[in-house]
Amino acid sequence: MAQFRVCPDSGFYFDKSAEQLMKVNAVAAVVSLLLAGVAALGVILTRWQTIHLLPADTFYMVLTSHGINALIFWVIFFEIAVLYFASSTLLRCRLAAPRWAWMGFALMIIGAVMNNIAVLSGKSSVMMTSYVPMQAQPHFYLGLILFAVGALIGCFVFLGTLIIARNEKTYKGSIPLVTFGALTATIIAIFTIASGAIILIPTFLWSIGYINQIDAVMYRLIWWAFGHSSQQINMAAMVSIWYLLAGVLFMARPMSEKVSRMAFLLYILFLQLASAHHLLVDPGMSSEWKIFNTSYAMYLAVLASMIHGLSVPGSMEIAQRKKGLTKGLFEWLRKAPWGNPVFSGFFLALVIFGFLGGITGVVMGTEQINLIIHNTMYVPGHFHATVAVGTTLTFMALTYLLIPVLFRRQLFLPTLAKWQPYIFSAGMTMLILFLLGAGTLGVSRRHWDMGFTGAALSFDYPGTAYMMMALAGIGGVLAVIGGAAYIIVTVGSLLFGKKLEASAGIFASFGLKALAPEVYNVDKPATLERAEKLTVEEHGSAGFAAPGTFALAMLLLVSFVIYYFINWGYLSSVWPIG
């Protein structure tokens, strides 16, 4: 029975059940992002002190909803779609246990709806972190648990598909790098979800009265093994998608399979230590523990990210140079398809993730520097650079690829799509920079009123802090407009986009040929061949293959070093603490 179709534009093989599952997961992700985006507007317009839109209780409810929908539901639904793509589609293999996959999806939907109901009722405004002993309604925790179980099933379906592909020999040699990266994300996801279960199940039992106390420090330690590590799933997925898009857009290949895979391996080995990032100014842990864990054992996971930071644009540069774009250091980059949102979204995400997200993350994760940063606006400044631009914009870029390839629709309002990554990242960059600034001035995160209305005592943040929050507000509104543009293009394409029958030539510009119309007419896809061998002198020989990328990497390093020591300088100016 034929169950595969070939995408005539990209040449990807889609297994029927995998395809449907990718579609529903992607749609659920976009709906979650819509909820998160609406909530974002409420958050940003309240923290912009001159507007101060929402009353306190609504603000905390909306902030909780924003965090959970954006950080958990949007990214994980999308990641499940990515996992199915990276296994079934890339390996040209049928999906393992589609019924289980559907059950996982159903559990995720039930969990997400249940949790959203708890939050929107206004009785579970406990923030995404739900720190005990503050208590949410039982179905807040139960929703998260069901969602996590569903996602776990998705992970095992992915692993099962890899096993089937291997047994049925649908590919030659080792699995592709992108699939390897997705496997990394899955392994981290399993660790993460297990940590989530270990802490959320007792917390749920506590909320219905079967357990009478949850230790607050233990909760923080294990919750963050879930909360922070789940961001590392995003990272592994995001980097895999970067490699995928470099391959699709430029027919690039990794600079070195060995180095890129080693870097993914470092993620698996060390990223899970990141729980410590949140406990640096907590009682109960020793400095030795804090230093070892916060640095991922000597920053080996940071090393991995720096390697990907060179390898992804480097592979793109090498591919572009091969096409003859060899002038100067940056012709390859200048002549990249900047008008294609798949590319612009991906590249902006990469740059902003590295320069803003990566550097600030390491700085604030330094044991002592965390003293001047913990729980200030600096923290959301950092993770909007990593998750809201890095992961989210990467997923948005991938969506623009999936609309024609997976959904077989033409982009709705292509001009809007073309500008969307620029609007979104400009707004986000502004938001991030001013949140970092406000955080440096000590402005608290998760705080309804920086004017402290109604407090018995009084304190005024400097005027600059108010100005920075206002500018962050403007940036945030711009980012919400950019996010809305994404939703309009995506939903519009699915509802009104012209159906693509045969090849629409969308990928002709990337040098891919039209293959076949969209019908499930393939019993068994052709075996996935190894990549073509490169001639020896191209790599590993004298001279730099990617000098432009190396220059960019050095720029990153110099910014990193300067900014790192500026923060030590700032720390040395505060009161001595022993």
Binding site: H447, F452, S458, P462, R530, A531, I577
Partner: protein, 178 residues
């Protein structure tokens, strides 16, 4: 079409690396090690470090010690909160509760104190402004830090861990005298 194809070489882990990769990995590794050793270095030569001295406690036990200090050294009151002037070098106590920091501590500049911090109910965040020192305050745990104010004036203690609807009203004070 290559990042999503199997590697060209069957033995891909033996292919040689490009120059920029070797160089970059070397530089990045050195930088990672520098950042790692900065933390122990600062413990030895820097002045801003947590001793990470902490004890398990209970709200009742901690409150009793705070009350004892307030009774002994109270020198005034502001906004319904007692102002306490403990002797230089002593153990001083600050508790967080919904939605108040208690009491107001009056300290001497350039003198060291052992500050004990805990919460009576939910988690709170000790954020000393505008100095910008931030600590997590957790019920059931008593954190001790040695604090040496080197500026005089009035300082605010903002709660920067979300603690419910009155979170924004949870504002304390610390006074440092010349």
């Amino acid at each position: 079409m290559t990042t999503f194809q199997p590697p060209a070489e069957r033995i891909w882990w033996k292919t040689p690396l490009g120059k920029e990769e070797i160089l970059w990995i070397g530089i990045a590794l050195v930088w990672c090690l520098i950042m790692f050793f900065m933390m122990p270095f600062w413990h030895v030569y820097g002045k801003q470090n947590l001793s990470n001295e902490a004890y398990q406690t209970t709200p009742a036990k901690f409150k009793a010690r705070v009350d004892e200090m307030v009774e002994k050294y109270q020198t005034g009151e502001e906004g319904g909160v007692p102002i306490v002037t403990p002797p230089a070098g002593s153990d001083i106590y600050l508790l967080g509760r919904l939605w108040q920091w208690y009491p107001i501590l009056e300290l001497e500049k350039d003198k060291s104190y052992r500050l004990h911090l805990s919460s009576l109910d939910w988690q709170h965040g000790f954020s000393l402004q505008p100095v910008n020192i931030n600590l997590q305050v957790i019920p059931g745990y008593e954190m001790v830090i040695k604090l040496t104010p080197d500026q005089s004036g009035d300082f605010a203690i903002v709660c920067n861990e979300y603690c419910g609807i009155g979170h924004h009203m949870m504002l304390g004070k610390m006074i440092v005298k010349e």
